[in-house]
């Protein structure tokens, strides 16, 4: 392919988030949030059933 003049760096820069040094940690955090939401919604459903 023909490289374009503004080709962006495709290197895997660290996420730079406090407490989350690797992308694997970010994905684990996001998945944890998802799991937490499911649990919270289950509790919510149970409380107001």
């Amino acid at each position: 392919m023909t490289p374009l003049p503004d080709s962006p760096p495709a290197r895997d820069a660290p996420p730079g988030l406090p407490g989350l040094r690797t992308w694997r940690a970010v994905y684990a955090f996001v998945f944890g949030c998802f799991a937490l939401w499911v649990v919270a919604l289950a509790v919510f459903s149970w409380v107001f059933a």
């Binding site: 080709s7 994905y27 939401w37 289950a42």
Partner: protein, 573 residues
Amino acid sequence: MSLLDYVVLLGTMVGIAVYGVWQARGRKNLSAYLRSAHTLGWGTVGLSVMATQASAITFLSTPGQAYESGLGFVQNYFGLPIALIIVAAVFLPIYRRLNVYTAYEYLGHRFDSKTRLLGAGLFLLQRGLAAGLTIYAPAIILSTVLGWRLDATIVLTGLFVIIYTAVGGNEAVSVTQKWQMAVIFAGMAAAFAVLLAKLPSGLGLTDTLAVAGSFNKLQAVDFSIDFHKRYTVWSGVLGGLFLSLSYFGTDQSQVQRYLSGATLRESRLGLMFNAVLKIPMQFFILLLGALVFVFYQFETPPVFFNRATWAAHATGDAGAGLRAIETRFDAAHNEQRAKIHDWLAARHGADPEPAKAAMLAAHQRTEALRTEARQALAAADPIAQKNDADYVFITFVLEQMPHGIIGLLIALVFAAAVSSLSSELAALGETTTIDLYRHVLRTDASDLHYVRVSKALTAFWGLIAIGFALFAHLAENLIQAVNILGSIFYGVVLGLFLVAFFLRRIGGTAVFWGAVAAQALVFALYFSLNISYLWYNFIGCAACVLFSLILQSAIGSRGATAQPGCSILSSQA
């Protein structure tokens, strides 16, 4: 709507569009025009991805869905965070390493030209039709409740989006989407605050939720394994994962959004922003609908929320039957309201169950009258829309909100409509320019030439969308028809990309004919089987992968031309 509402509506929408075009002025470089020259931060990318997915129908229909059926629809989004993690970890690094403009350009690198054209063609066909519905669906609701002309609403909305999208390009789309999302968040917060203030005095948040819960409106998750239920945790995780992977990973209207990030990090964080916030956002919108339900337990609602359609048939001698149902409904609702107050008074007592049973029985009587009203309307006018759920929230807004807030909430609906449409038009124009015009017709023109062509093609697709929306009313089941069309093609497109990313030994010839055969199979099954069209997403994808494997093993290693860095097993991301 008052003059103040129109000032808020027009001032918000035009102001945001002018600001977006001004921010993106003077972009003559193709990369700057089509992907903002990779300058956007993760916040803008994240809001842009969110705005593209959230259409006007999200804000008109979703609260109505909660009003009717509760919060269970939130489970539909359970596969989304997992899909976005896969897109961020697998799809995105490869797209960025190859520095592609479109997802289909990647198919060209990984396979060959014909597979790229196949992927681009399927996208243009599907998204080109869907863009018309993006204008039509909110226009039909707003024109009905506000008394505007449908054709004028469609044409003005479409032209407005065409102008700022074609002139400002991708950056104008992203910048406007950021502020349009701000309007959407402000509108939702205002609706929530006003709604809480409108509830009867003395009814606290706990009592409010208790009332909603007693009518089964707060059942957000369902762990049962029942294939007949529309929304369960399992169908949400599996089906939602599949659909979200197709949408975020292969649909150019989304790929274009996150490829605009300044770096791989910005693009990834933009996607993770959505992965974290999408479920709570949908829950909040649904909760708004549940609270509107509680509000209308203490305030008499219309027997049919599409008041314009009801009023058109409830006049004169012919409408006497409808008016009689309305009178009986009002009386039944008054009785139900009294029973709810009885239950609230008895709720903390020794035995609240009899009061609750009486309340639920009264509710069943009012629901039976609503059903009777729909059936009577259908008998009076067989082509009248019988489902009024889409009109619940807009009716509440127009009849209960203060002036100024009404303008803000109508701006919210328009902001959602134009933000989705602008992404679709930009993606359609970009794909036609990059994958057809530059790839096939004219390969060696200047950037300025391609920018001009892209602007013209964006406008062209906008006019196609307007034309399609203007004639959409001629087909009663058009929305379903386009959904079916999307499901018929979406599965095969995802199959193409899954083979590209994960099966590096399969080459262009095998996957192209595998995809063609899978598409033919889907068509054959569609005309011979009677199953839900959602299944064709899975069937098309599985058939594409399977046929590609079979064809590749039949032709041997010939044609297997995976380039380094084009598939997950050969990438170092």
